[in-house]
């Protein structure tokens, strides 16, 4: 920071000033110095260019090609998944705890066995075996390297996910003692244990080491729970599970293979829906959405950043703009292309009391040119805008 008017501004101070991070006094001092010192004026202009260029370069990382457009799972879906995960993380009453569930399962198995024997029917326990098998697999597949607190482990959740994914939509009789129910409880317990401690950020990552695997498994569980709830109690009846089990094992094997390679399997319904939605967005080739980066400008804040501005180019001269997402009360937008070509967009933001004009470039590589003194005095502002996927 330049202490006196005679010292040149250092680059960090200039960037802090441009980022609005200086106190009003400091800002004023920097502004005055930049206005009176040619070298510093140039440094400020260069810094402005660097700020805009950086934003532009980074924003090019956001535009994902068709078919894999990000954010295709809507905000609502994400929130639902998060809520489901929270549910899974809540402490459970005693009658829903795993120990009780296992005991209940054993009682049920024993009861079924005993009834089969009593009836003297040559009834195999195939109907029960898949359940017991999946429970056993859940126990067997827990990675030994995990700490004891994650005893249910990713394996349990993986089994559960397979069980749900493979479940037929319609089944004649729901089975509360199914592997699905048990695995749900397992995942709940895992997440619940994870919730037992609270640590500051610095320690969070260390704890992540411990429960990242279990927690990731719980993520999938929660997502599947949401799907499963829609399929209300459609877990296949035991006698239908023999072929299912085979399929499940195949899927599990494939998934295990992919997991070995570090690729989380994305075979769940939510992902499928996401890709379909992505396709739909990709087809909407006309609209473009941008998020304006200079969130510190009060006149930009009114746009509701990070909500997006949605542009629909109309020929070489016109463009219509709306704020994507929730409309901002009392705000209207006008937009037009300026200069040659259609790279430069000027956005007029009108509010009941005032209005402002911002200009940004749609091009990733070509920043918006500097303003003329007339434009500057008219209050036009050049901002960096990142192309984003339309919400």
């Amino acid at each position: 920071m330049a202490d006196t008017m005679n010292e040149h501004l250092d680059e960090g101070t200039i960037h802090a000033w441009l980022d609005g991070a200086l106190t009003p006094d400091e800002s004023e001092r920097v502004e005055r110095h930049a206005a009176s010192c040619a070298a510093c004026g140039e440094a400020v202009a260069e810094a402005r260019g660097l700020v805009a260029a950086s934003s532009r370069i980074l924003s090019s990382l956001d535009d994902v090609a068709a078919g894999v457009i990000p954010g295709t799972r809507g905000r609502g879906d994400q929130l639902a998944a998060l809520r489901a995960r929270r549910e899974a993380a809540r402490p459970r009453p005693w009658w829903r705890r795993r120990e009780f569930a296992v005991a209940a399962s054993l009682v049920l198995v024993a009861g079924t066995w005993s009834m089969a024997l009593r009836r003297g029917v040559e009834q195999s326990v195939d109907g029960v075996a898949p359940v017991a098998g999946m429970v056993r697999q859940a126990a067997d597949s827990q990675p030994g390297s995990r700490v004891a607190s994650a005893e249910a482990g990713p394996g349990a959740a993986r089994d559960a996910r397979v069980g749900i994914t493979q479940a037929p939509v319609r089944a004649p009789s729901p089975s509360p003692s199914s592997a699905l129910a048990l695995a749900k409880r397992e995942a709940g317990d895992v997440a619940g244990r994870g919730a037992a401690t609270t640590t500051p950020p610095a320690n969070e990552a260390r704890r992540d080491d411990i429960d990242a695997g279990a927690s990731r498994a719980a993520t999938e569980m929660a997502r599947q729970q949401a799907v499963a709830q829609n399929q209300a109690m459609t877990v296949p009846a035991p006698q239908q599970q023999a072929p299912l089990r085979l399929d499940s094992l195949r899927v599990r094997q494939r998934e295990a293979d992919r997991r070995e390679l570090g690729l989380a399997a994305r075979t769940d319904a939510a992902s499928r829906a996401g890709f379909l939605a992505a396709k739909a967005v990709a087809d909407d080739a006309v609209a473009e959405c941008y998020a304006i980066r200079e969130v510190d400008l009060p006149e930009i804040r009114v746009l509701g950043v990070p909500e997006a501005i949605r542009l629909v180019p109309a020929g070489d001269t016109g463009v219509t703009a709306t704020v994507a997402g929730t409309p901002v009360e009392g705000l209207t937008l006008g937009a037009r292309f300026v200069g040659r070509g259609t790279d430069l967009v000027e956005l007029v933001v009108r509010r009941p009391v005032d209005s402002t004009v911002v200009r940004f470039s749609r091009s990733v590589v070509a920043p918006a040119p500097a303003l003329t003194s007339t434009e500057r005095s008219a209050g036009v502002k050049v901002v960096a805008a990142a192309r984003i996927v339309c919400p």
């Binding site: 991070a21 929130l79 992540d208 990242a212 927690s215």
Partner: protein, 176 residues
């Protein structure tokens, strides 16, 4: 944490956090997974004093630790993710250009020192200097310098990569 609080937190920070992570990781799905984890951890907290810097710090630490733990797997994951994309993306002339742009930007970003890169990515998501300093354990006074260095290096590297590509293309044309 109440439902309203969750919604508020999610609405405010989910987008920026996923974008930050996507830029960092180069994989949107992975970024969303990490973001979910971060929000889940936030839900377990009674209260967050500086919620935005907390969220970004936790996300940063999660990614860093996971990367350390399984660098080899991560590289493999990226290769597989790229392959998966290739099979899903419709072929077209613009895809190659876009991929090239992304590759240049990513290479330029990777050329930055870790702290510089993170500070810049956080700033791009609207974190103020205090929040960046808190998340990265820097002094507030050094954030401006860090950002200045990061921006300059990013832009210069990007330009030199671009120029190198241009020379190669020109050389190729001459040879051809």
């Amino acid at each position: 944490m109440l439902d309203e609080e969750l919604e508020r937190l999610f609405r405010l920070y989910h987008g920026p956090l996923v974008r930050y992570l996507t830029r960092r990781l180069g994989d949107r799905d992975w970024a969303e997974e990490v973001a979910q984890e971060v929000f889940l951890r936030a839900l377990r907290q009674d209260s967050l004093v500086s919620e935005r810097s907390w969220l970004f710090a936790v996300a940063t630490n999660m990614v860093r630790d996971e990367a350390r733990r399984s660098e080899r797997q991560r590289r493999h994951l990226q290769v597989l993710a790229e392959q998966e994309r290739e099979t899903m993306v419709e072929p077209g002339p613009t895809n190659a250009e876009r991929a090239h742009e992304v590759a240049l930007a990513r290479e330029a970003l990777q050329s930055l020192a870790e702290k510089d890169r993170l500070a810049l990515l956080m700033r791009e998501e609207g974190l103020n200097y205090e929040e960046i300093a808190a998340a990265l354990e820097l002094s507030v006074g050094s954030v401006g310098t860090t950002l200045a260095r990061a921006r300059r290096r990013l832009a210069e590297t990007w330009e030199s990569l671009q120029a190198g590509e241009g020379r190669r293309t020109a050389g190729g044309s001459d040879n051809g």
